[in-house]
C-alpha cells in the first residue's frame, strides 16, 4: 500500500469529517430500521405482499448502517481517542463508565416507564406494569438493556470497551482485524446451539448476550485494524481504489440483503437470519466503515461535527417518538407505506429537535453524550483539591 503523507496538499482531505458523516448515517439509518415495522415490531404480517414492499425496502436500505455499524464507529472513535491520550486502563474505564453507564441508567428508567404510555393505548398496560414491578426484571433492564429494544447498545459497548488493550494488537498488524469473520461465524453457531439446548427464555437471552459480547470483540479488532489503516495515511489514489473495493463488496452484500428482503415481502415475517444472510448482515458494517474511511480524500462538508454530535441523542430518543406516533395514528386506517413514512419523518425530526434542545441544557446535555455530568464531572478535579489543600496547609504552617 502506498503511504503518502498528505499527498494532495489539502488539510481537509485527511481530516475525519468522514467519521462525522458515518455517525450521522448510523443515527438516521437506525431510525429507519426501527420505523419500518408495524406497531408490534413485525413485518406487517396482515398486509398483502405488495403493501410490504416499501417498509421492507426502508428496512433493507437502513440496515446498511445497522446497530453493529454504530458499535464499530463508536469503537473506532474510542480507538482514535485512546491512541492520542494515554490514560491508565482504570482511568479510561472509569471515564467510559461515567459517560456510557450513567446515561444508560437514566434512559433505562425513562423507557421502563415510558413504555406504559404505548401499553395504555394498545391495551397491555396491566402486563407492562406487572413487568415493571418485578424486581428481577430490573436486573435484566440494567444488565441486558431490556427496558427498550434499543437500550442493549450501551452496556454492550461498555463491555466491548473493557477489552481495548488487546485490540491494540490490530493497530500494528491490521490483518488481525480479519478475526471478525470467524467471530461472527462463532456468534451464529453459539446462538443456534443455545436455542437448541436451553428452554428458559431469559436464560437463553443471558447466554446469548455472553456469546454476543465475546464474539463482538471482533468489532473491536476490526475498529483498531481500521485505525491502523488510517494511521498509514493512505494516499488519494490508494484511497479511491480502496473505496471502489469497499463499494463493490457492499453492492454484492446489498444483493444478498435484497434476497432476504424478498422473503420478508412474501412471508410477512422478518424470520431468522442464517448462513450467508447472517454473515453478510454482521460483516457489512466493516465494509461500510472501510468505505467511509476510504472516502477521506473526498470533499466532505467541514461543519458536519455540528450535527454529528447529536447522533447519540438521535439514537437514544427516537423510540419515544416512534411510540408517540404509533399512538397518534392508531385509529387511522393507514397503509404500511403511509404508516412507516409518517413514523420515520416524525421520529427523525422530533428526535433531532429534542437533541438540540437537550444540548442547550446543562442538566440534560450529558444524558445524550454532550457536556459534563453536573455535580460529578464539573466539580474541581482531585489534583485541584490537592493544590488547595497544599496551599491551605502552607498557610496554616506559615510557609
Amino acid at each position: 500500500m502506498n503511504i503518502s503523507k498528505n499527498e494532495t496538499g489539502s488539510v481537509d482531505s485527511v481530516r475525519m469529517h468522514w467519521l462525522d458523516g458515518a455517525r450521522l448515517a448510523a443515527a438516521f439509518c437506525i431510525i429507519g430500521i426501527h420505523a419500518s415495522s408495524d406497531s408490534v415490531g413485525q413485518a406487517f404480517a396482515d398486509a398483502l405482499p405488495g403493501e410490504r414492499v416499501f417498509p421492507v425496502m426502508l428496512r433493507t436500505v437502513s440496515e446498511i448502517a445497522s446497530t453493529e455499524f454504530f458499535i464499530l464507529v463508536s469503537l473506532f472513535l474510542l480507538s482514535v481517542r485512546m491512541s492520542r491520550k494515554e490514560l491508565s486502563y482504570i482511568a479510561n474505564i472509569k471515564q467510559q463508565a461515567r459517560r456510557l453507564l450513567l446515561p444508560f441508567v437514566i434512559w433505562t428508567i425513562f423507557y421502563a416507564f415510558f413504555r406504559l404510555y404505548k401499553a395504555y393505548y394498545f391495551d397491555y398496560y396491566d402486563a407492562q406494569w406487572a413487568e415493571i414491578v418485578q424486581p428481577v426484571n430490573w436486573i435484566y433492564y440494567l444488565t441486558l438493556g431490556y427496558s427498550n429494544y434499543h437500550m442493549h447498545f450501551l452496556p454492550t459497548l461498555f463491555v466491548l470497551i473493557l477489552f481495548y488493550p488487546i485490540y491494540r494488537l490490530a493497530i500494528k498488524a491490521p490483518i488481525v482485524g480479519l478475526i471478525i469473520v470467524p467471530m461472527i461465524y462463532l456468534n451464529m453457531l453459539s446462538g443456534q446451539f443455545i436455542w437448541r439446548h436451553l428452554d428458559d427464555l431469559m436464560i437463553i437471552e443471558s447466554w446469548m448476550r455472553v456469546a454476543k459480547l465475546l464474539t463482538y470483540t471482533g468489532y473491536g479488532f476490526a475498529a483498531y485494524a481500521l485505525l491502523g489503516l488510517w494511521q498509514l495515511k493512505i494516499d488519494r489514489k490508494t484511497s479511491i481504489s480502496l473505496f471502489g473495493f469497499a463499494l463493490l463488496v457492499l453492492t454484492l452484500g446489498f444483493g444478498i440483503r435484497m434476497m432476504h428482503a424478498t422473503e420478508i415481502i412474501q412471508t410477512g415475517s422478518f424470520g431468522v437470519r442464517g448462513g450467508i444472510i447472517y454473515m453478510n448482515h454482521f460483516l457489512y458494517p466493516c465494509f461500510m466503515v472501510l468505505a467511509f474511511l476510504a472516502s477521506q480524500h473526498f470533499r466532505w462538508p467541514e461543519k458536519l461535527a455540528e450535527w454529528s454530535k447529536y447522533s447519540f441523542g438521535l439514537y437514544l430518543m427516537h423510540p419515544a417518538f416512534l411510540y408517540m406516533c404509533e399512538v397518534a395514528v392508531k385509529d387511522y386506517e393507514l397503509t404500511p407505506t403511509q404508516f412507516v413514512s409518517i413514523k420515520f419523518a416524525f421520529a427523525l425530526v422530533m428526535s433531532l429537535c429534542m437533541s438540540v434542545l437537550f444540548s442547550r441544557s446543562r442538566y440534560l446535555a450529558w444524558t445524550i453524550g454532550l457536556g459534563k455530568i453536573p455535580f460529578i464531572e464539573d466539580r474541581p478535579k482531585p489534583h485541584d483539591w490537592d493544590k488547595t489543600k497544599a496551599s491551605s496547609q502552607a498557610i496554616t504552617q506559615g510557609q
Binding site: D20, L24, F28, T60, E302, F344
Partner: protein, 186 residues
C-alpha cells in the same frame, strides 16, 4: 457517538495537520444532513418502484368470512379444525350463471371440494381437508363462471385419471365470495 470526549466531534479529535490550501466542500453540512436523513426513505422509494415495475403484485384482498354475497359461519375464522369438518353459511346474493364451489386455498392454489347450491339461503356441507397437521389453510366459497367451472371439471377429471391434484392457480382472488382461515389440528 459518545465514546470519547462526547461533546467533541471526530474531526476535532484528530491530529491537527499543518495548514494548507483548502479544497471547497462539494456540499454544505446542512445539505449533507438533509441528504443523509432522507437517504433511507429516498432509496427505499426508488427500490420499491423498481420492485413494483418488476413484479405485478396482486392487491385484491382474500374474501372475509362474511361479504355482500355470502358467508361462512362455521367454523369461525382462525379455528383449529380436524380433517373432517362441518361447514355452514348463507348465500345472500348471486346470479343465475354462477356456479358455487367450496374449495381449500393454500399459497394461491385452489383445491375444489364440493359444489354448493346456487340459491339464496343457508347451506351446510361436510368437507374433508387434506391440510397437514399444524398448517394454516383457507376454506373459500368460489363463485365461478361457466368457463371457470369447466376448469374445475377438467381438474377433477385429471385428478381422478392421474391421482394427482396439484391445485388450480389460474383463478384470481375476485372469484372468492367468502373465506375463513383455519389451522389443521395436530
Amino acid at each position: 457517538m459518545n465514546t470519547g470526549t462526547l461533546e467533541q466531534s471526530a474531526s476535532q479529535r484528530e491530529n491537527q495537520e499543518p495548514t494548507q490550501p483548502r479544497v471547497a466542500p462539494a456540499i454544505s453540512s446542512k445539505q449533507f444532513l438533509a441528504i443523509v436523513a432522507l437517504f433511507p426513505a429516498l432509496a427505499a422509494t426508488a427500490l420499491a418502484i423498481l420492485i413494483h415495475l418488476s413484479i405485478p403484485f396482486n392487491y385484491d384482498r382474500p374474501a372475509a368470512a362474511t361479504t355482500d354475497f355470502a358467508s361462512i359461519t362455521m367454523p369461525a375464522d382462525g379455528d383449529t379444525v380436524s380433517n373432517e369438518l362441518t361447514m355452514r353459511g348463507s348465500i345472500f346474493s348471486t346470479e343465475a350463471d354462477i356456479w358455487l364451489y367450496l374449495a381449500e386455498e393454500s399459497e394461491g392454489r385452489y383445491y375444489p371440494k364440493t359444489m354448493i347450491d346456487n340459491t339464496a339461503g343457508p347451506w351446510q356441507t361436510t368437507l374433508y381437508s387434506g391440510a397437514p397437521a399444524g398448517n394454516e389453510f383457507r376454506v373459500v366459497l368460489l363463485g365461478l363462471s361457466a368457463e371457470q367451472r369447466l376448469i374445475v371439471d377438467n381438474w377433477f377429471q385429471h385428478g381422478s385419471n392421474t391421482g394427482e391434484y396439484p391445485g388450480i392457480d389460474s383463478f384470481e382472488l375476485d372469484v372468492e365470495l367468502a373465506g375463513v382461515k383455519l389451522v389443521a389440528a395436530p
